[in-house]
């Protein structure tokens, strides 16, 4: 495992009652990146996370987390990795502060250090005002925020968040996403599973899509886009009155253009990047009338849908 890799799995497999939930999974997460784990319900995301935390044992294969095998040395992994489970819960008779304090004690964090740490984290997740309410009175979204503070209290090298934005209001989502986006700068690698592709796209440096316990694709958004849409991630539509082969030729010669299709007066151009400037220039310089130009960028939604549409 290289310096840059914090999590690596080789042929990770897990069965529940004869059903293979995670099947020969290979993942690699680099240090200080945000890794998004995507996939439909039942794809094996949570099971994968549990195996990475050493909370459940793989049937075969192995994982390396921060240089340790979570099955053999779970305590070393748990010391370095913060985890927020999917439906996080707290002791309802204790306040958020007391709940966090208990976790800090379990991690042998000194009393004075944990006190200031707790205040900082409660502030960061926007719970300072509710810090003395019993956690039993918390809404789902508030618990979710507290869960993130809880995962960060041990200053982890890696934090694994299972659905961190589920149940949050739009403002809360932005707050939490901003918080997550800032973590790599503080030296924390983030793995988050989510169904909100829009947020994943916004913050994740690299993405792994799981389906039926297997990795379908893994890589950065660009790489994913290229794999999913062999012709490039952008589609630019140009409307003209003269869609002649000559014009198509000119456009095809622009570097970055991967494919040009015609539909009546509409040219549909696939490319790797936003080539609107180059295309419009070429059209006008070739003395062709340019009526309208539209760009359509493929989002993670399209990529995701493409994989699961074919299924």
């Amino acid at each position: 495992m290289s310096e840059k890799t914090v999590i690596e799995t080789h042929g990770l497999t897990k069965n529940y009652d004869g059903v293979t939930v995670v099947n020969n999974l290979n993942l690699r997460v680099a240090r200080n990146e945000i890794f998004g784990l995507l996939g439909p319900n039942g794809a094996g995301k949570t099971t994968t996370i549990l195996m990475l935390m050493g909370l459940t044992e793989p049937a075969s294969g192995a994982a390396q987390v921060c240089g340790f095998d979570p099955t053999r040395e779970p305590l070393k992994v748990k010391r370095l990795v913060g985890y927020m489970p999917e439906r996080v819960g707290f002791y309802e008779n204790l306040t958020p502060r007391e709940n966090l304090k208990f976790i800090a004690r379990l991690n042998n964090i000194d009393e004075s250090e944990s006190t200031s740490m707790i205040e900082q984290l409660l502030e960061a997740v926007g719970l300072s005002e509710a810090a003395d309410l019993a956690a039993g009175k918390f809404s789902r979204g508030m618990k979710q925020r507290l869960g993130i503070a809880d995962a960060l209290i041990k200053k982890p090298e890696v934090v694994i968040l299972d659905e961190p934005t589920a149940g949050l209001d739009p403002v809360g989502i932005n707050q939490i996403i901003d918080l997550i986006a800032g973590l790599p700068k503080m030296g924390t690698t983030v793995i988050m599973s989510s169904h909100r592709l829009h947020e994943v796209q916004k913050v994740c440096h690299s993405i792994g899509i799981l389906s039926r316990g297997k990795t379908v694709v893994q890589g950065s958004l660009d790489q994913l886009g290229r794999q999913a849409f062999a012709n490039g991630r952008y589609r630019i539509e140009v409307e003209t009155t003269q869609p002649t082969p000559q014009l198509i030729n000119i456009i095809e010669e622009i570097s970055g253009v991967t494919k040009v299709e015609t539909k009546g007066g509409l040219l549909s151009i696939s490319s790797d990047s936003d080539l609107r400037a180059e295309i419009s220039k070429a059209v006008v310089q070739g003395n062709f009338p340019l009526i309208e130009m539209r760009i359509q960028e493929f989002s993670l939604d399209d990529i995701y849908m493409k994989y699961f549409h074919e299924d």
Binding site: L55, L75, K78, V81, G89, F90
Partner: protein, 310 residues
């Protein structure tokens, strides 16, 4: 583990459950005291064991203190253990705790230990309250042997309570729902404490019938069989141990009379402390073994259990 133990103790002491149980314990000791107040003058207590009479004498309509405690200890044990693990699971805190750098056994050990400490405190409080008020009430101070016997009695109640707590905890590991573990625990308690009293004589009469004009051997066989069946219940073991410990006079001890009705007239009367202990040694070992089995099973099941967030 210390951190978990501290938290569990703090939880127990601040819970409504603890307050309710404590009130129950106080009421029981008050009732027991009142019972002995009514009955102690007429009770035929052996020389030197008057103070123990506070615990063993029943009143006109009120059972004796030891009977009340025999009834109460399983309830306390069950109340302390029935939701130990599954409440954490359904509250979503179990996976969070287990993702901290703690051994999984620390969680269940900490909970069990906190339960034992709470139970010990309650039982010690009950016995000491009766102890103190008893001195005021009857004006007799306990002899050192009586104090020692009461101390052993205290230890037995804790072991007995630990069995019920271990059993309830086992159900809390096995069943995901709190209601299931509570109902099952109470069901087992009802069966072992009450139903077995009805079933045992019936089975004994079937297997070793006593016809009219039966011989002594047949009678003894019938009673012996009934007792063997009853001894499957830790409730019986505990009452036998209690009786032998706090009713040292053989003539009064139902256990000894059952074994040999003539014993009361043959053996030195009452038994010394070490002889009493020797006498109930099997009961004691069985109770300890049962508690250990319950705890060890829940421990093993818990260690192997899958931890899923949902």
């Amino acid at each position: 583990m210390i951190t978990i133990l501290q938290k569990e103790l703090a939880d127990y002491f601040s819970s409504i459950r603890f307050i309710v149980l404590f009130i129950l314990v106080l009421l029981a000791s008050a009732a027991g005291l009142y019972a002995s107040f009514q009955g102690i003058r007429t009770a035929n207590l052996p020389e030197g064991f008057v103070f123990l009479g506070l615990f063993t004498t029943s009143g006109e309509a009120i059972p004796s203190l030891i009977n009340l405690i025999t009834l109460l200890v399983p309830i306390i044990g069950i109340a302390l253990g029935f939701d130990a693990i599954n409440s954490e699971r359904s509250g979503g805190t179990l996976s969070r705790i287990l993702s901290q750098p703690v051994y999984r056994d620390d969680v269940i050990n900490g909970k069990f230990l906190a339960g034992i400490i709470t139970l010990s405190l309650m039982m010690a409080a009950t016995i000491l309250i009766v102890f103190g008020y008893g001195i005021r009430l009857i004006g007799v101070t306990p002899t050192s042997e009586e104090a020692l016997r009461l101390f052993f009695y205290f230890i037995f109640t804790v072991i007995y309570g630990a069995f019920w707590m271990g059993l309830a905890m086992l159900f809390s590991v096995i069943f995901r729902r709190i209601a299931y573990s509570l109902v099952t625990s109470i069901g087992v308690w009802l069966f072992l404490s009450i139903f077995i009293l009805l079933i045992a004589p019936a089975i004994a009469n079937n297997l070793a019938p006593i016809a009219e004009g039966a011989t002594t051997a047949e009678l003894i066989r019938n009673v012996g069989l009934e007792q063997t069946i009853m001894r499957f219940s830790p409730n019986t073991l505990f009452s036998e141990a209690t009786n032998a410990l706090l009713l040292p006079a053989l003539g009064e001890n139902p256990l000894i009379i059952a074994i040999s009705p003539a014993a009361a007239f043959l053996l030195p009367n009452p038994l010394s402390l070490d002889q009493s202990l020797l006498f109930i040694w099997p009961q004691l070992t069985a109770m300890i073994a049962l508690s250990v089995i319950c705890f060890a099973t829940s421990y093993m099941v818990f260690m192997r259990q899958e931890i899923r967030a949902t």
